[in-house]
């Protein structure tokens, strides 16, 4: 894997590369320009020097020959050859020439510069390599380094002869060329120096550029590094970090965005924390939070020999508030309770001790942790104060609610050495307080454990029973008094516990009724019974099957809906399904149950009053709710023969007759009872004496037998 360079390194390298390329290009351009300049300058210098020297030489030569001509004018006129020769000889001493001639108007040579003047009288044209024939007029031309001149010699202003001369200027021109070359060499040297200087400047500038690129990049990216470092710290759990860089540029905006993200994250984190550790209704710490707190304290207390107390608070009859006033009101009440508890704790604050910790475990259960106590009495005192704080009725939405609480107290380390044990024992103590009449507190004692074990086992076991089919229904036939045949049956819930065997409904139903589990159980019963009813209806088309609905489930509209849905889904005929409710539960939940009863009635489901005569029914309700039948309580039937219940039974039968509703006599054990009740006019009969509750198969078998006998 390639090694990853940091952005700073890469950026500065890139910048350096770019500036290096620019510098190299610049250097090349400068170098090229210098070179071009150098060449051109050398040429110019060369031609300038050569040109200048030639001009100078021309002027010089012309002047010389002109002067010579003027000087020799008379001599030439007089053909003073010796003097001309002498002059020419002298001339040669300081000017090198190829030839020198004096010639006349006819082009005849007068003197050739030699001692003997051998060319005298010859044609000048034969001696002078000039393009055109030399005349007396002045001429000048270059042949390489040789300057050819023709200069007229005048007498009285008119030319009569001319001097033709060719100077050899190879020396001066070579000297000029040499100096031009020298100059060129000098310029080349200068050029090399400049080039070297540029190279040095370049090699100095390159690291300088690299350094400054690095500095600039670092400076630019420093805020990014700061952000990265802060992000890492933030990720590592540091919380009081701000990403805000207080800059207006892009990185500043990135910082601001990160800061906003952090704040959103914090918010979200806070919410998650709340959801995880805070109760949504009261904003108190929740069970999990409490458990953490408790564990921590336990952990610390173990080595410090610290004592602390846990107060388990359960509101008395809070379920009724929920059931009657609705959940919104119930929640409001919980908030109010939490407020009062908090307030009480605040007032109860002791500077020498850590503050108590209040949490809501769920439902109407609160718990208070007193982190440090000296004696049990401190916890008792707090419990009393808390109870007192709830004594004043609560005004919720214009309605007063009086509510009390039962408090269970555990002490560490006396009542447990694990947090779960401490909490469980506090719960048990609370339950015990509740058992002993509510609105009181109790310290945990070891024997309490056995008392409530069954209750806890039932509450915990029922769900498992539903799931693993440990529940089943027995059906007790209900006979028609008139023809003695099975008219219907009552479904009775049975729990075949894996460890404890068959459990009595009287034992577990009240416990279930106290918990939320009643709803699930009711649904299970309704579902199973309705399914069985279909097969029974095949045998007896007007068969009635009754199920018992607990008062606790009555006010739950979801159960009401559920049962209606079953009837509709299975297309059960009207009045085939009956609901039995005890007179007591109907009266207790009169207002909330009335709605459910009317809906059932409207849906074609019959309503029977169970255990009639044991409660305090309002006769007006019996009428207005269109009850379909009364089940005369077994206690009346039991006392029918030897007791004094006959007039009561007769009254009940009369009431039913007057309301045109049916009556069922329960708990018939003997034929005597049966006969008496028949005589008294009871329509239907039920009891061990007629038939015990049985499994569906047996019931079906029994009905088929009956049908066969009739046939």
């Amino acid at each position: 894997m390639n090694r990853q360079f940091s952005v700073i390194t890469r950026l500065s390298l890139l910048l350096t590369l770019v500036s290096a390329i620019m510098m190299v290009v610049l250097m090349m351009v400068v170098d090229d320009t210098l070179k071009a300049y150098n060449e051109q300058s050398a040429q110019t210098d060369h031609s300038y020097i050569t040109g200048t020297i030639r001009e100078q030489l021309e002027d010089d030569a012309r002047l010389l020959v002109k002067a010579l001509g003027a000087n020799l004018s008379e001599s030439i006129y007089q053909l003073d050859l010796s003097r001309i020769g002498a002059s020419f000889k002298r001339l040669r001493n300081y000017r090198k020439y190829d030839y020198i001639y004096v010639f006349d108007a006819e082009g005849k040579i007068i003197h050739d510069g030699s001692a003997e003047v051998s060319a005298y009288g010859d044609d000048i044209a034969d001696y002078v390599p000039q393009a055109s024939r030399p005349t007396l007029e002045g001429q000048m031309s270059w042949d390489g380094t040789h300057l050819r001149l023709v200069c007229p010699v005048t007498a009285g202003g008119a030319p009569f002869a001319a001097i033709a001369v060719s100077f050899d200027f190879a020396g001066p021109i070579k000297a000029a060329a040499d100096s031009a070359q020298e100059l060129e060499a000098h310029e080349q040297e200068m050029f090399d120096t400049v080039r070297q200087a540029i190279l040095i400047a370049f090699s100095l500038l390159l690291p300088l550029g690299m350094l400054s690129a690095r500095m600039v990049t670092k400076r630019l990216l420093n805020p990014l590094q700061t952000l990265t470092e802060r992000s890492t710290r933030y990720a590592d759990g540091e919380r009081d970090i701000s990403f805000d860089l207080h800059r207006a540029d892009e990185i500043g905006r990135l910082g601001t965005a990160l800061e906003r993200m952090r704040q959103a994250l914090e918010e979200s984190h806070h919410q998650v924390h709340q959801m995880a550790y805070e109760d949504a209704v009261t904003s108190l710490p929740n069970r999990r939070s409490f458990q953490h707190k408790l564990s921590d304290l336990m952990h610390r207390s173990a080595s410090l020999d610290n004592r602390f107390a846990v107060l388990f608070i359960d509101l008395d009859h809070f379920k009724q508030v929920n059931d009657t006033a609705g959940h919104a009101q119930g929640d409001q009440l919980l908030r109010e309770v939490s407020r009062r508890l908090t307030q009480t704790l605040r007032e109860h604050r002791n500077r020498r001790r850590p503050d108590p910790f209040l949490a809501r475990l769920g439902g109407d259960e609160f718990v208070i942790l007193m982190p440090s106590i000296d004696s049990a009495e401190e916890a008792a005192e707090l419990a009393r104060t808390l109870s007192a704080s709830l004594a004043t009725p609560f005004l919720i939405s214009g309605q007063y609610f009086s509510i009390s609480c039962s408090i269970g107290i555990t002490l560490y380390p006396d009542d447990g050495v694990s947090s779960s044990e401490i909490l469980k024992h506090a719960d048990i103590a609370m339950y015990s307080a509740k058992q002993h009449g509510r609105n009181q507190f109790a310290f945990f004692q070891m024997q309490m454990t056995d008392d409530i074990r069954e209750r806890i086992e039932i509450q915990q076991g029922i769900r498992e029973a539903i799931e693993h089919d440990h529940l089943y229904l027995d059906y007790q036939p209900i006979y028609s008094m008139s023809n003695g045949r099975i008219q219907g049956a009552e479904a009775l819930l049975r729990w075949n516990h894996p460890q404890h065997g068959l459990l009595s409904p009287a034992r577990f139903i009240p416990i279930i009724e106290e918990s939320d589990l009643i709803e699930d159980v009711t649904r299970w019963v309704a579902e199973r019974a309705a399914g069985d009813l279909i097969s029974l209806l095949e045998l007896i088309p007007d068969f009635n099957l009754s199920i018992n609905i607990s008062g606790a489930a009555l006010h739950q509209s979801s159960i009401c809906d559920y049962i209606c849905n079953i009837k509709q889904r299975l297309a059960l005929p009207d009045n085939s399904l009956c609901i039995e409710i005890t007179e007591t539960s109907m009266i207790t939940h009169l207002e909330s149950s009335e709605k459910a009863l009317r809906r059932w009635k409207a849906a074609g489901i019959e309503i029977w009053i169970d255990d009639f005569g044991t409660g305090y029914s309002s006769l007006a309700y019996l009428n207005s709710l269109s009850i379909d039948g009364l089940k005369i309580d077994r206690s009346f039937v039991h006392n029918l023969i030897d007791g004094h219940s006959r007039p009561l039974i007769e009254a009940m039968i009369a009431l039913a007759e007057s309301l045109s509703i049916q009556t069922v006599a329960e708990g018939i054990e003997t034929d005597q009872q049966l006969a008496a009740l028949k005589d008294m006019g009871t329509g239907l009969a039920q009891g061990f004496g007629l038939a015990r509750p049985m499994r569906l198969d047996n019931l079906i078998h029994k009905i088929q037998q009956e049908l066969n006998e009739t046939a």
């Binding site: 053909l79 050859l81 003097r83 003997e116 003047v117 009288g121």
Partner: protein
């Protein structure tokens, strides 16, 4: 009009000072420079030739009132003679013709013969080009001849005399390219020996005249050129030069000068003699020499230009 060189002017000034001095004090007591004179076309060169000898002699003639030496050069013989007549010159060294004229016209006295340029005596040569049709001097009729210059004995006086003696009529020509009438011989002056030979060689003139010394001097007549020339006439020999004392010099002094000159011999005075126009030696003047000098003036008349 007499023309003098700058040095001469200075001398002239000195002369006036001398006149003033003479008026005040006796001549014998008046110290003066010994003046030697010559006709010269090349005054610088000739001054250098004369000066050492003049100084040498002046020193030895101090007894006669000479405290220094002076060289005076004149452009023409006439100028010289005029100067001699005014007494400003003591001593003259000249070629035979000029010497003769000075003697004749001023009463000067010849002291010694000078073997100038190593020549005891010389002759005049008349020459033409080899291929020329001119074979003798009579053939020169209708032709031109170049002489050196008007006061040259060997290259003007003598050859002209010779030609005229042969019955030829000589006329001066305007320029070198001019031609005489058919019956005459035209002459021009070549100014120097070299030109003389060159002109003949180049056919500018038909003939030239030079003394034998110049003829044989390769500097003046290059050997190659000489080959292309032929001599058509040779004159008799004449003394080369004379030392002359003017009347400004007392007879005693003149005699002393004469003795002094004749006493100079090689090799003891070689350096001095060499510088004095390459004089080989001095010789005593013979009676026949004096006759020649007289004859020359008579024959030529005083017709020099």
């Amino acid at each position: 009009m007499p023309r003098q060189y700058s040095r001469t002017s200075v001398s002239l000034f000195s002369y006036f000072m001398l006149i003033l001095g003479v008026a005040a004090i006796p001549v014998s007591l008046c110290a003066q420079p010994l003046v030697i004179a010559q006709v010269s076309e090349r005054p610088k060169k000739d001054y250098a030739h004369l000066r050492p000898m003049a100084s040498y002699v002046a020193e030895r003639l101090a007894a006669f009132g000479f405290d220094s030496a002076e060289v005076k050069l004149y452009r023409s013989a006439d100028d010289l003679i005029r100067a001699v007549k005014t007494g400003e010159v003591h001593w003259i060294t000249e070629t035979p013709y000029t010497a003769a004229r000075v003697i004749q016209e001023t009463g000067a006295r010849a002291l010694a013969k000078k073997w100038k340029n190593g020549q005891r005596e010389y002759q005049t040569l008349i020459y033409t080009r080899q291929e020329s049709d001119v074979r003798n001097i009579e053939d020169l009729v209708g032709q031109s001849i170049a002489f050196e210059h008007p006061y040259s004995f060997s290259s003007y006086y003598l050859p002209k005399h010779i030609l005229e003696r042969s019955g030829l009529t000589l006329v001066p020509l305007e320029g070198s390219s001019s031609m005489p009438s058919r019956h005459q011989v035209g002459y021009v002056f070549s100014r120097n020996e070299k030109n003389n030979a060159l002109w003949v060689d180049k056919g500018i003139v038909t003939a030239g005249a030079l003394n034998d010394g110049d003829w044989n001097n390769p500097e003046r007549v290059p050997p190659n050129l000489r080959k292309r020339l032929k001599i058509i006439y040779r004159s008799e020999f004449y003394p080369r030069a004379f030392e002359v004392a003017t009347n400004a010099l007392s007879p005693e002094a003149a005699t002393a000068l004469q003795s002094l000159l004749l006493s100079l011999h090689r090799p003891e005075h070689e350096a001095l003699l060499d510088r004095y126009e390459k004089t080989e030696a001095f010789a005593a003047v013979q009676p026949e020499d004096l006759a020649l000098l007289t004859e020359m003036v008579i024959n030529a008349g005083n017709e020099a230009p």
